[in-house]
């Protein structure tokens, strides 16, 4: 067999917890820095560039974090579903660990979407909670996240927890469009002419730009937080290995 000098680099190298751990540690500060930068730019645009809205006045500025948070809440659930599905089908431990690490951040953004939506709704709609399609769907999404986390924490056997969570996440992923469609139908029916709580009637280019940049910033934040969390998860789950013992030894000297 001919000996080749160069080793073929494969991304699959990083599918083991041991190799992913240092990679995550190296990448995490970069994503954190990107998050801070993008959020700073986004907030600047949101508060100092975007003009006052004609109908809603200044209160519409909540949109910059509300929309970003709700996009993240949806996106992270799909990513969580994807990785836990990969872990279920390919039987890879790391994918399941990433899915577990994504959940709390996703749930947090869902809560923030609800909170900011509520604070936007009170002055514009007059109530702290309006049963409109977006808010109600976000509420159900929060329940789906909590269910996923509750199921995983209730099961003692780690592999079973991973796989059961994966089935639940996949079932949830299939259901999300159905739930959203149902809630949207229910909401338009019961509120007559539907004015979405979250629509800013006229979207100036700067408003859209601010929203997008904040969403990107939240995305970078999510990646940084998930990388940090998955490192903790890896240490906890791989504690029986030599490399973790060595790593802990390095951290405590």
């Amino acid at each position: 067999m001919a000996m080749s000098k160069s080793r073929r680099f494969s991304l699959y190298y990083f599918s083991s917890p041991q190799s992913f751990y240092p990679l995550a540690g190296a990448l995490q500060p970069w994503f954190a820095a990107l998050a801070v930068l993008l959020c700073a730019v986004g907030l600047y645009i949101g508060f100092f560039v975007a003009p006052t809205d004609a109908t809603q006045g200044e209160v519409y500025r909540i949109i910059f974090i509300h929309v970003a948070a709700s996009w993240m809440s949806m996106f992270l659930y799909l990513v969580m579903g994807f990785w836990s599905g990969v872990g279920l089908v390919l039987n890879t431990r790391l994918s399941s660990m990433v899915a577990t690490a994504l959940a709390p951040t996703g749930a947090l953004f869902t809560f923030l979407a609800l909170w900011t939506g509520s604070f936007w709704g009170k002055p514009t709609w007059g109530t702290w909670w309006a049963w409109d399609a977006r808010m109600t769907s976000e509420l159900i999404l929060l329940f789906l996240y909590i269910g996923f986390m509750a199921l995983q924490s209730a099961i003692d056997d780690q592999r079973r927890a991973d796989k059961a969570g994966a089935v639940l996440a996949l079932v949830g992923t299939i259901n999300i469009p159905i739930i959203y469609f149902s809630v949207k139908w229910w909401s338009t029916l019961h509120q007559g002419a539907s004015v979405s709580l979250t629509s800013a009637p006229t979207m100036a280019k700067t408003m859209l730009l601010g929203m997008l940049i904040m969403a990107l910033g939240f995305w970078m934040y999510s990646i940084a937080a998930t990388l940090a969390r998955v490192r903790c998860v890896i240490l906890e789950r791989e504690r029986h290995t030599d490399w973790v013992e060595a790593e802990i030894g390095r951290q405590t000297t």
């Binding site: 159900i140 329940f143 789906l144 909590i146 269910g147 509750a150 199921l151 209730a154 099961i155 079973r160 796989k163 059961a164 089935v167 639940l168 996949l170 079932v171 949830g172 299939i174 259901n175 159905i178 739930i179 469609f181 149902s182 809630v183 139908w185 229910w186 029916l189």
Partner: protein, 222 residues
């Protein structure tokens, strides 16, 4: 395969028949919960008529969920479930049999009793019929989705409440269109769209849920 399905059906129905008390309890729970609402909000007929579809449907959801504890847990405890997994028959078929028998024992009684309870809420005749049909289409979906939740939480501590947490969000579309069908009938607009959608949910869950449930059972038992 049909023989395996028939065997599971016959066994489950026989066992349910021997423990008639469990079945009746769930039904009584449904009746009591429905009767609580007027006591809570007052007997004014217009208000009750407006509330009725939602109240009856939510109570049906809760009753179905309570009965999920009986779906796999007893078989798991006495080892039958393990035998089912080891059997040559496709697990999906056996799961389907269990879900059908669960529906016959827990869902169908609700379908039959709910119109009677609808009278307590002063629902008109056509609305009562629509209530029955909507539950007829919807309760199998509840059994199917509920089975996935029951399989995922098999043997887990605190599984009773956990199952509720897992499946109730997934029940929401069925609730919306089931109660919506009755509401639409009361309001005078038709319920055809609702029935079509409920039928669609039923078709989708018949195809997907047994498969997810079988996967969840294997995960729980390995």
């Amino acid at each position: 395969m049909i023989r395996a399905l028939a065997w599971v059906l016959r066994r489950d129905l026989l066992l349910a028949f021997r423990r008639r008390g469990d079945v009746v309890n769930a039904l009584v729970f449904f009746v009591i919960v429905v009767s609580l609402f007027p006591l809570g909000v007052g007997p004014e007929p217009n208000q009750l008529r407006g509330m009725a579809p939602g109240v009856l449907w939510v109570a049906a959801l809760l009753a179905c969920m309570l009965s999920l504890a009986r779906l796999f847990a007893p078989d798991h405890q006495d080892g039958t479930l393990e035998q089912m997994l080891l059997a040559g028959e496709p697990l999906v078929v056996l799961v389907m049999g269990k879900v059908i028998s669960h529906w016959l024992v827990s869902g169908l009684p609700l379908v039959l009793i709910a119109p009677l309870l609808g009278l307590q809420f002063d629902l008109p005749g056509n609305a009562l019929a629509v209530l029955g049909v909507s539950l007829l289409l919807g309760t199998p979906v509840l059994s199917l989705i509920g089975a996935v939740g029951a399989a995922l939480t098999l043997g887990v501590r605190g599984s009773g409440v956990l199952v509720a947490l897992l499946v109730l969000p997934l029940f929401v579309p069925v609730l919306i269109f089931g109660a919506g069908a009755v509401g639409a009938t009361v309001a005078g607009t038709g319920a055809e769209a609702h029935f079509l959608l409920l039928g669609g949910f039923l078709a989708l869950s018949v195809v997907l849920a047994p498969w997810a449930c079988a996967a969840a059972l294997r995960i729980a038992m390995e």
